[in-house]
């Protein structure tokens, strides 16, 4: 097993499949009356969050607690971080406290890579800047596999602000490894340069959502921040929604079996309408549930739970 999970690129097909299979076992725990396994008893997991992210933090917290780990939540607000402590000093502090795993969310791309140089424990990237969010990609893959029965050969459209999306980067890497075909869709201003060369050779780019929809098994909508308008990435929220938002009529262009995903939090009315978000095709709530199982699997495997 790998020591850290920093990027979707850290996972080969076998490792990724092992995580998904383990997550499926973990999911059965959630159905029990006592939702707890003793696997990580006596191990310490630190949630080191430099950005507000309630949903990701509580997902990791629930995952660690269901495995009986001791969980320390270390949020940048109200801690020594706010007093100007460096990432390295924080890392050394966590190291001295005996953290077996550090789950880190950070606004700077690559911060988890830096952290991994300074701690002996495992580092899990819970979202770094505009870089990656590998456990999100794992839970997305898990959800696709659960709904559609496979990943190899699936056609997945990832729609929206790819440039600033850590979810998109991790998904392109992981889905390509697992044999799915990814098409990135958005205005040219929000598609980063050389994306196929940078991430996965088979990745396609389209600027036309309507043309892509009839041929996909999965459409994954990304959150688009209204503030991007100020930097002229697109002219207005209304124009964005009209060209790249997923509404009812567009949803009906999808094949019968296709599912709609969103990593949350949604901007209802911007990239997705309530009709779509609340439709049976939508997996948005399942994604949250699956997130806990997948993060249990990641912590379990990284911390060597399978060797005990």
């Amino acid at each position: 097993m790998i020591r850290h999970l920093l990027s979707g690129a850290d996972l080969d097909a076998d490792t990724a499949t092992e995580i998904l299979d383990t997550a499926a076992e973990m999911a059965t725990v959630a159905g029990r009356e006592i939702k707890k396994l003793p696997a990580l008893r006596g191990r310490t997991v630190v949630n080191l969050f430099y950005e507000d992210s309630t949903r990701t933090r509580i997902s990791f917290e629930a995952a660690a607690k269901r495995l009986s780990a001791d969980v320390i939540n270390f949020s940048a607000k109200g801690s020594s971080v706010a007093k100007g402590e460096s990432l390295k000093d924080t890392a050394l502090t966590l190291q001295a406290m005996g953290a077996d795993a550090v789950v880190v969310r950070h606004p700077a791309s690559g911060a988890p890579h830096r952290l991994a140089n300074w701690v002996d424990g495992s580092v899990v990237n819970a979202g770094d800047g505009t870089h990656e969010h590998p456990t999100q990609a794992l839970l997305d893959a898990y959800t696709m596999r659960a709904r559609l029965g496979r990943l190899a050969g699936l056609s997945v459209a990832v729609v929206g602000d790819v440039l600033h999306s850590r979810v998109a980067r991790s998904n392109v890497l992981l889905l390509s490894t697992l044999g799915a075909k990814v098409t990135l869709v958005g205005p040219p201003t929000l598609i980063p340069v050389d994306i196929a060369g940078a991430l996965a050779p088979g990745t396609d780019v389209s600027y036309d959502l309507d043309a892509v929809l009839p041929d996909v098994d999965v459409v994954m909508m990304l959150r688009v921040q209204r503030e991007r308008m100020k930097d002229s990435y697109f002219p207005s929220a209304r124009e964005y929604s009209r060209r790249y938002g997923l509404d009812g009529p567009r949803m009906r262009r999808l094949p019968e079996h296709a599912i709609v995903m969103h990593p949350g939090p949604m901007n209802r009315g911007m990239e997705i309408t309530p009709e779509v978000a609340d439709s049976p095709r939508s997996t948005i709530v399942e994604q949250v549930t699956n997130g806990v199982s997948v993060r249990m699997a990641v912590l379990y495997l990284l911390l060597g739970g399978n060797n005990r």
Partner: protein, 425 residues
């Protein structure tokens, strides 16, 4: 004053001969020299070059003496074979008055390891809003001739035009840090495949090329001298090539790191590889090397940029840009150009001395010329250990790399600053 006799040394690649330094000048050159009072330096297998001249050095004093001082940077320069360095103006306070440039100049004299030639800021506080008192700096004891807001681009086209025109009165030159600021807001590394993969905001090549294109047109329009700092892209080379072909009075420099390292170094997120302009691609490196050989790029300049540990041991986005360069530049040049001694002397000594107006520097060792020279062992190879560098900072991108060439001795006006590869003081 002690005399030095360097025996059997190759002067700029020529057949070995003896070289006698006495009373601050090269006294004699020729085979079989004898000088019983002189200290003998065995020059067998070694090459003597005119002392190197760096057009682009950050000495950090005043303001960040924890990162570098005029003295520590001067020592690093001497160990790198330099006899003169041009100290950039982005200190704290900024070198935008006669007082600050004279302070830096005086600190350089007191250290006595290289000639420290201050560069003056173009605009007050490097703010890009109004001209600093360029004439006062030119008239000061520091006799400033190069003006630069380096670290910042003089982005306002009117201000740039005025600066180019104004310094004609004292044969000054504007050294531009070419970076269109709106195109590089928040930029962290070269915009391309690697920045996409790493999720770091890209610094597009066009942000440099657009400013160089504008500035060569401005310089042509007003008939002034323009120098372009740290050229980093293939597109910039083409703009410069065309401007030079038209006779525009433009010169350009390239750094050692832009001749050797690519943007792929960012993949570890280790900010020791963060620099501005950023490391580019292998295609850019090929274009820069060929421009250096054919003269479209005139000079290798280090952009030696020391930074304290805490400014580099952090997240990439929060780290300061810049890398050390003085103690490794000649080795990189040797690695990139091979033992082309005349070309190395031209790009690292004669031309930069001429651009900076430093008389007494950049002159090949010959009877009667000031003994500003350096002696290199081209056969030596050394492994770069950050802790062994003379700079106060440790941010070398070449850590643990093995590079060719070693400086054996450096002389400033006949006084050794480096002997046996060690700083004399």
């Amino acid at each position: 004053m002690t005399a030095y006799l360097i025996t059997s040394v190759s002067i700029v690649g020529a057949a070995p001969t003896d070289l006698l330094i006495r009373d601050g000048v090269v006294a004699e050159v020729g085979p079989g020299l004898s000088a019983p009072d002189a200290v003998v330096v065995d020059g067998t297998g070694l090459v003597a070059l005119p002392g190197l001249v760096d057009l682009h050095t950050h000495l950090r004093e005043p303001g960040r003496e924890d990162a570098e001082t005029v003295e520590s940077g001067s020592r690093a320069a001497a160990l790198g074979g330099y006899t003169a360095v041009c100290a950039m103006a982005n200190t704290s306070p900024v070198a935008d008055t006669a007082g600050v440039v004279e302070q830096v100049w005086r600190l350089g004299r007191e250290a006595g390891l290289v000639d420290v030639q201050p560069v003056g800021a173009v605009t007050v506080g490097l703010a890009g809003e109004r001209l600093a008192e360029l004439g006062a700096m030119a008239d000061s004891a520091a006799r400033v001739r190069i003006f630069s807001d380096d670290g910042h681009c003089v982005a306002d086209p009117l201000l740039m035009r005025r600066a180019l025109e104004y310094v004609k009165a004292f044969d000054g030159i504007i050294a531009q840090h070419a970076e269109e600021p709106r195109l590089t807001e928040g930029a962290q590394m070269h915009e391309g495949e690697v920045s996409t993969r790493l999720g770091l905001i890209g610094w597009p090549a066009v942000a440099e090329e657009a400013i160089i294109a504008r500035d060569v047109l401005l310089a042509e329009h007003v008939g002034s001298r323009l120098h372009v700092c740290h050229v980093s892209t293939a597109g910039s080379v083409e703009v410069l090539r065309q401007a030079k072909a038209r006779g525009v009075r433009v010169t350009a420099e390239v750094t050692p790191h832009h001749l050797l390292l690519t943007d792929e170094r960012a993949e570890t997120y280790d900010p020791v590889f963060k620099v501005n302009p950023p490391l580019r691609t292998a295609d850019d490196i090929a274009a820069l090397r060929s421009a250096l050989a054919d003269g479209v790029i005139d000079v290798i300049a280090t952009d030696h940029a020391p930074h304290a540990v805490e400014d580099k041991e952090c997240e990439w986005a929060y780290a300061r840009p810049g890398m050390l360069g003085l103690e490794t530049a000649l080795s990189i040049a040797l690695d990139v150009l091979g033992p082309e001694w005349d070309l190395i002397a031209e790009r690292m000594s004669r031309t930069p001395a001429r651009i900076a107006g430093l008389t007494g520097h950049g002159v090949d060792p010959a009877p009667g010329v000031p003994a500003n020279l350096t002696v290199i062992d081209p056969a030596a190879r050394r492994t770069i250990e950050p802790a062994e560098l003379a700079s106060r900072s440790r941010n070398t991108p070449y850590a643990r790399m093995t590079l060719p060439g070693r400086i054996v001795a450096t002389f400033l006006r006949g006084e050794p600053t480096v002997l046996d590869g060690k700083a004399v003081k």
